[in-house]
């Protein structure tokens, strides 16, 4: 594990967040310079469109600016907090059925989508190892919900199973995953 560059980034983002809390706008720009590219990548992975991804990132930065004072470094990492906010912004856009048209281009099926996402994780990853222990379909519900932001309904559609089955797979997969990862 080569953790030290990540630790340095984490420290920079945490320090910048503290300055945002004090109302320093230049500090938000510091976070932008460090993280915005990756944030656009993450949002685009879920929303598939550059314009929507940028909208999610813009919304996330607005929320970060407003909520910076509520971030408590004792309770968790700054980057985790940042990406949780981004995820909320992206999910809000995804679930807004009035305007988001899911890109059904993909006759892309669940199995390759899941395997592609898993293959990006390093071999040493506990998340990867624990997901690989699950049955293929039970692994898919967790991976596709997180990586591509699919809803319960969309998962049921992709996997061709009833909604209730998807819901119980998700819950059981999460419990196994937690037991495996600790």
């Amino acid at each position: 594990m080569n953790a030290s560059p990540q630790d340095a980034t984490e420290a920079q983002v945490a320090a910048a967040l503290a300055r945002c809390a004090a109302g320093e706008r230049a500090a938000l720009r510091v976070i932008y310079d460090i993280e915005a590219g990756r944030m656009v990548g993450v949002a685009r992975r879920m929303l598939r469109r550059q314009d929507l991804a940028e909208e999610a990132v813009q919304d996330a930065f607005m929320r970060v600016w407003r909520a910076a004072r509520t971030f408590d470094p004792q309770k968790g990492a700054a980057r985790t907090w940042l990406y949780a906010i981004l995820r909320n912004s992206a999910i809000s856009i995804l679930r807004d059925e009035g305007r988001y048209t899911a890109d059904e281009d993909a006759a892309e099926t669940a199995a390759p989508m899941t395997e592609n996402a898993l293959a990006r994780l390093p071999e040493s990853s506990a998340l990867r190892r624990c997901l690989e222990r699950l049955d293929a379909q039970r692994r898919a519900v967790v991976v596709l919900a997180y990586v591509h932001g699919l809803s319960h309904g969309e998962l049921a559609g992709r996997l061709g199973v009833p909604l209730g089955t998807v819901k119980s797979w998700v819950r059981r997969s999460l419990i196994s995953l937690q037991e495996c990862m600790g």
């Binding site: 720009r29 909520a67 968790g76 909320n88 912004s89 990867r128 809803s151």
Partner: protein, 232 residues
Amino acid sequence: MTANDDRALAGEYALGLLEGEARAEAERRIVTDEAFAREVRGWQMRLSEFDDVTQPGTAGEDLWRRIEASIAVPARAAAAPSLWARFWNSIPALRAGAAAAAFAALVLAVGLGFAVQAARQQPLMVAVLLDGDRAGAVVHAFADGRTVLLPLAAIDVPPGRALEVWTLPSRERGPVSVGLMDRARTLQLQLRDLPRPGPNQLFEITLEPAGGSPTGRPTGPILFKGNTALAL
């Protein structure tokens, strides 16, 4: 609920699978129930490995400028700083002393001027925000796209708290924050990224931590609420 139920629920929240009331309930628990909040953070951390290995995209100056514009607004009327500067420079006597009183008077003047200017135009849509039968504020939506909140009553804001204004553009989207203020004041609401307010659209004011709701959804008590109606 067993520990496993809560753990799975926290995981479903982190995955983004909770919707509507279930999602709002989980967000309330994150604020009020530290054990549950810890479960959620645990999942966010475990799953964030996927984010670390995602191919970055492009984030240019354009996007930054939009972000800068969107945070430039919050609790003050947009015109206030420049008016403030002009006012200050034009009356040298003010510089001599009584700065606090002058500032208070100025804020009031700017607020009133803004309110008068707003009132001169006829709004398209009006919402009166009530607590029972007490009116706390009125929201005016104008044809040029501006939407303004005008206070009708003083609102008691405890230290470390703020007033946040929300609207519900659609059930699917859920409540969206459109303004934040430290006390009841005239406030230009931020609806630029939303469809124009239609009739019967909910506006409400909640009490939140200073800096606004940590979750992006209302977490505190609703102080005033009301729905828009067409102004005749």
